[in-house]
């Protein structure tokens, strides 16, 4: 379960306080597939950062799987992310100095898990890149890099997966395949997926859509009253 309670995020710009998000509240149950949509500058990425504990709100709170992120320090949040959260980014964000297999191993190793290499091989197989495990990110195509990133996101069986424009850097066909992979992995693992996109087609495949405009929630297809 992911709960946002009156989340506000302000930034200081010179003498002015700029509110990028204002009093955003919603609850996302386990296993849901939620798309956050809205035009550029509406606050989507800021909201994603706050929900994933990459940043903290100016006011309000975020509760991830029973943990209030706003009461935790950065290192505690990092640990929680390592245990419960996975990420897929628009620009893949693979570590360029590590091979595909090693990139997948990282979250497991940071958790002190045993059998990281075997798990990485299993995931590489699952995303169809079994033969490419020893390649570095620069030796892979965009679609392949994103598949490695997805494998890495699922490595520690996250309770919740955040995806920021995961197909934004890919052509339509590749993007669609990558998204299908994301969906099927989600089905298998039962994780919650929070997808940030302004691709309407992609958003339609989600079970619920939260629409942002100018820092406010202007629509929520699955809002629960109260």
């Amino acid at each position: 379960m992911l709960i946002a309670k009156e989340v506000t995020r302000e930034y200081r710009s010179g003498d002015q306080q700029l509110a990028v998000l204002r009093d955003v509240s919603f609850t996302i149950p386990d296993g849901a597939f939620v798309a956050i949509v809205g035009p550029s500058g509406s606050g989507k990425t800021t909201l994603l950062g706050l929900l994933a504990g990459l940043d903290t709100p100016t006011r309000g709170s975020v509760i991830l799987d029973g943990h209030d992120l706003t009461t935790m320090n950065e290192n505690q949040r990092a640990r929680l992310r390592g245990e419960k959260v996975g990420f897929v980014f628009q620009s893949f964000q693979l570590i360029p100095t590590l091979t595909a297999r090693e990139n997948i191993q990282v979250p497991l190793e940071l958790q002190g898990a045993d059998g990281a290499a075997a798990r990485a091989d299993e995931l590489l197989d699952r995303v169809g890149l079994k033969a490419r495990g020893h390649h570095f990110p620069s030796q892979l195509s965009g679609g392949e890099q994103q598949r490695v990133a997805i494998a890495r996101a699922f490595a520690n069986n996250p309770r919740i997966l955040f995806a920021d424009e995961p197909t934004g850097n890919l052509d339509a066909v590749t993007g669609s395949r990558v998204f299908e992979l994301l969906e099927s992995l989600n089905r298998e693992s039962g994780s919650t997926i929070i997808l940030v996109t302004h691709d309407a087609t992609l958003a339609q495949r989600a079970s619920r859509t939260i629409r942002l405009a100018d820092g406010n929630v202007v629509g929520d297809s699955g809002a629960v009253a109260g």
Partner: protein
């Protein structure tokens, strides 16, 4: 915890896992990081080479110390032994079952009648059992034993060349005739250069009377070597006898003392060179810091990802600190390996100056110390930029800020302040560890901080001035280049700091070197004399004088009277020294009462020496009351020579003597050592006769010129009747005439020695050349050090420059325009950095020349400007190399990267 996939997790990465991740993550960065760390390699190399060499020398001295001295104790006096001295040695021998060997050392002209050539030599007349320890080897071998039976001479090979002689020739010393039986191969205890100044000749002691050279007042050193039965402790035997020895003016040196004297000199030399190494190491540290800053910028994205997927800031920091430490260790090991290689070459450079054969062995202590200091410097200097990685937010994966924005640290960030303090303490600590004294250590670290401070200030000033001075009317490329100096993420400070520090170091070395060498050369060249005669007896003076005048000019003659100080202001020398001793005993009692530590042997020796000589005493090698006990060779005249200047009091000139007390003018340093001021009366013992004299003036003397100079110059009436010898300084044209004149004088007056000053000048020039080569090597070494440092400094912002350049190129900038932008920026940086370094170096050079060498400073501006020009060119070259990379990258690659 067990996850659904069957992967079990402890929730925290084990050390092994983190180490594995660190190792894999460092994959592409290792070479780059090692390159940055190589900035410290040369510094480590210097430390290891110098320390190892010093250890080698100390070890060799210890191993060969008995051979160096030749016996367990060496006694010496510059007069034939008195009955009292003889009785003392006899009692000592009976009591301790000691046996004695003798060696009398004196200068003499050597003549080979077959070729007619002459040369001033050092004669060593030895008893048949000399030396007790160590072996003197000859060529042909085994000829040392021939000294026991025949009137033979064993000579330095250089003497054969100088005299155009060969083995088997007859050699005359005074009236004695000797057969040259062999040349000397190895004589323990003398440095190679000693041979050039005065070649050695060993003859049997019993033939000395035949030479008739040792007459009353001749310069000679009468030495006795003592050998004790195995197990005896020479220091313990001689310790209680010291006061007696001092009183009867018999010097005694034990193996331990001679060891200390030799190793002290080596330690001082290695300390001086070690300081250059230390500064080079700190410069390397600055380079490491710049390099690591560049490294850190490249790692922002990776750190953001790691943070995003669960790494704590501590884990991230640990990973990169481990990488930096490992590479620092590798850089230091590489430096140590280089240092060891250099160490093997050092004996061939310094061997001539050392009294022992240095056996080069690996010195683990020196190697490990070098590696430890190097790794620590690399680590502490990289820690500061690495700390910034803690601030990399995982949010950077979603939205990337500028590098400088992300890496900015607050001034009051506690870990940063702690690292700064640790850095400062490390500099001070290592300086203290390396320097000879606390004062020196503090001075070095203080100067380092001052230089860094001034360079940082000038960098800030440059940024400020360029911001204020920038005008819209300037061409675009110039505006862009100048703006680079103050824009965010500018490299002004790091480049100015490393460039300025490098320029400062190199220029200071060169300035000090040229200053010292120049002064030497001026002083030597000022002297016209090319021949000096000494030990001329009173009755020989007129005939020698006229013989010289028949071939050339007599420039100066001086009578020489040997004497000792008997009393100062009616207090005898014994009383004065006794007072100083009492004061020291009282001091140590007071220290004990106050619960302070007793002084070390060295400290109390220094104190004793200073107190016996007065507060401003310098510290040449010697025992308490060195100046009080020494033999003075004084003169009398009514005119000053060009090498002298009155600093206080009034020159006596031709003033007649008032009463029984004559007048004397003292050299100002010896007056300080004697603790004597104007108006004091010194009573001199001139061969048994007490002669009082009042100090009426002090003189400053330029000793470096080859002219007879004296500590004490008397008014003629005070000393005219004393027994004396003469020194004569001449200018004789042509080497053939010089040789002929020397030959004629030796034939008629065998006891008169002469020295061809052109030979001495050549020798000094040779030594100076060696010294200046060594200094030039160090300057080059520092320059070599500066290049990787400067590269690191520029590397820190290279990526930004390339990215900007590629963007400009995409927007239509030509290669020429981009090059001009870079040229404007780097030319300004280079100009300010090298000029600030130069100005600081002039200050540093002055301070070293003034305080350390106590000399006048005149900066070699041309050399300094040349170095500044070189550094400027280097900076521009390195800057433009970055520009070349702009044209290697395609616009797409840069845009994709950003």
């Amino acid at each position: 915890m067990t996850s659904p996939s069957g992967v079990s997790s402890s929730g925290r990465a084990s050390l092994r896992q983190l180490a594995g991740l660190t190792w894999r993550e460092s994959r592409s960065a290792r070479r780059r990081l090692l390159l940055y760390m190589s900035a410290i390699s040369l510094g480590v190399a210097a430390l290891v080479a110098i320390d190892s060499f010093a250890d080698n020398v100390t070890r060799s001295v210890r191993e060969q110390s008995r051979a160096l001295l030749g016996g367990d104790i060496s006694f010496s006096s510059n007069r034939p032994y008195s009955p009292g001295q003889k009785a003392f040695l006899d009692t000592l021998a009976t009591r301790n079952k000691a046996s004695y060997a003798h060696v009398v050392t004196f200068p003499s002209m050597a003549l080979v009648p077959r070729t007619g050539n002459t040369r001033l030599t050092q004669v060593r007349a030895v008893s048949s059992n000399y030396p007790f320890y160590g072996e003197i080897t000859t060529s042909p071998a085994g000829k040392w034993a021939s000294l026991k039976t025949n009137a033979v001479a064993l000579v330095d090979p250089s003497l054969l060349v100088a005299l155009n002689a060969r083995i088997g020739d007859t050699l005359t010393l005074g009236l004695g005739k000797f057969e040259i039986a062999a040349t000397l191969k190895d004589v323990p205890g003398t440095a190679g250069v000693a041979e050039i100044i005065g070649p050695r000749i060993f003859i049997p002691e019993r033939y000395v009377p035949e030479t008739q050279l040792l007459v009353f007042g001749s310069t000679a050193d009468y030495g006795t070597l003592a050998k004790f039965p195995a197990g005896a402790n020479p220091d313990k035997i001689i310790g209680p006898e010291r006061p007696k020895l001092e009183k009867m003016q018999l010097r005694a040196r034990t193996v331990t003392q001679s060891e200390e004297n030799t190793t002290d000199a080596i330690k001082q030399l290695s300390q001086f060179i070690g300081i250059v190494g230390l500064v080079a190491l700190l410069l390397g540290g600055v380079g490491v810091a710049s390099g690591v800053r560049a490294f850190v910028s490249r790692k922002i994205d990776t750190v953001a990802i790691l943070r995003c997927i669960g790494a704590s800031s501590g884990q991230v920091l640990a990973m990169y600190v481990a990488q930096a430490a490992a590479m620092g260790l590798l850089g230091s090991i590489a430096g140590a390996a280089l240092g060891v290689a250099v160490q093997f070459g050092l004996p061939s450079v310094f061997g001539d100056f050392l009294p022992v054969d240095v056996s080069v062995t690996l010195e683990p202590a020196a190697i490990f110390t070098g590696i430890a200091i190097g790794t620590w410097i690399a680590l502490i200097f990289s820690l500061r930029p690495l700390l910034a990685l803690r601030n990399v937010s995982p949010l950077q994966t979603l939205r990337r800020d500028a590098d400088s924005e992300i890496l900015r640290m607050r001034w009051n960030d506690v870990p940063r302040v702690m690292v700064d303090v640790a850095l400062a303490l490390s500099v001070v600590g290592i300086a203290l560890l390396r320097a000879g004294t606390v004062r020196q250590g503090l001075a070095i670290s203080g100067a380092t901080f001052l230089v860094i401070g001034i360079l940082s200030l000038s960098a800030i000033l440059l940024s400020w001035v360029s911001r204020k001075a920038l005008r819209d009317g300037w061409p675009y490329v110039v505006r862009q280049g100048v703006a680079n100096l103050y824009r965010p993420a500018n490299q002004t400070r790091s480049v100015i700091l490393s460039l300025g520090f490098g320029a400062f170091l190199i220029t200071t070395l060169v300035l000090v070197q040229s200053n010292l060498l120049k002064q030497f050369n001026i002083k030597i060249d000022q002297s016209n004399a090319n021949l000096v005669f000494f030990d001329i007896q009173e009755d020989q003076f007129l005939p020698v004088d006229s013989l010289v005048k028949s071939r050339g000019r007599v420039l100066q003659t001086a009578p020489v009277v040997t004497m000792r100080v008997a009393a100062i202001n009616d207090r005898t020398v014994e009383q004065i020294i006794g007072d100083a001793r009492e004061k020291i005993t009282a001091d140590s009692l007071a220290r004990a009462k106050r619960g302070e530590k007793p002084l070390t042997r060295q400290e109390s020796r220094d104190r004793q020496r200073n107190q016996a000589r007065g507060p401003a005493g310098r510290q040449p090698a010697g025992r308490p009351g060195w100046a009080l006990r020494r033999e003075f060779r004084s003169t009398y005249r009514d005119k000053l020579t060009p090498t002298e200047k009155i600093t206080s009091g009034k020159w006596f000139g031709t003033a007649p003597m008032k009463g029984d007390t004559g007048e004397v003018s003292l050299e100002k340093d010896v007056a300080e050592e004697l603790h004597v001021k104007l108006g004091d009366v010194i009573t001199w013992d001139v061969q048994g006769i007490q002669i009082p004299s009042r100090v009426t003036s002090m003189r400053e003397v330029t000793w470096e010129r080859f002219e007879p100079n004296f500590f004490a110059v008397f008014s003629p009436p005070s000393l005219r009747d004393a027994p004396k010898q003469f020194v004569l300084l001449a200018d004789v044209p042509g080497t053939q005439t010089v040789a002929a004149l020397q030959r004629d004088i030796v034939k008629r007056f065998p006891n008169v020695s002469s020295l061809d000053l052109s030979l001495v000048k050549q020798t000094v020039a040779k030594i100076l050349k060696k010294v200046s080569t060594a200094i030039r090597f160090m300057a080059l070494f520092s320059l070599a050090m500066g290049i990787p440092v400067l590269f690191s400094a520029v590397a820190a912002t290279r990526r930004d420059r390339i990215r900007e350049g590629v963007l400009l190129k995409t927007l239509g900038a030509t290669r020429g325009q981009i090059m001009k932008i870079l040229l404007a920026e780097y030319a300004l940086l280079g100009l300010l950095g090298s000029l600030t370094g130069m100005v600081l170096a002039i200050g540093g050079g002055w301070a070293i020349t003034h305080f350390v060498f106590e000399n006048e400073f005149s900066p070699a501006l041309l050399a300094a400007l040349a170095i500044a020009g070189g550094m400027l060119a280097l900076t521009i070259t390195i800057g433009l190399l970055a520009g070349r990379d702009v044209f290697r990258e395609t616009p797409m690659s840069a845009l994709r990267e950003s």
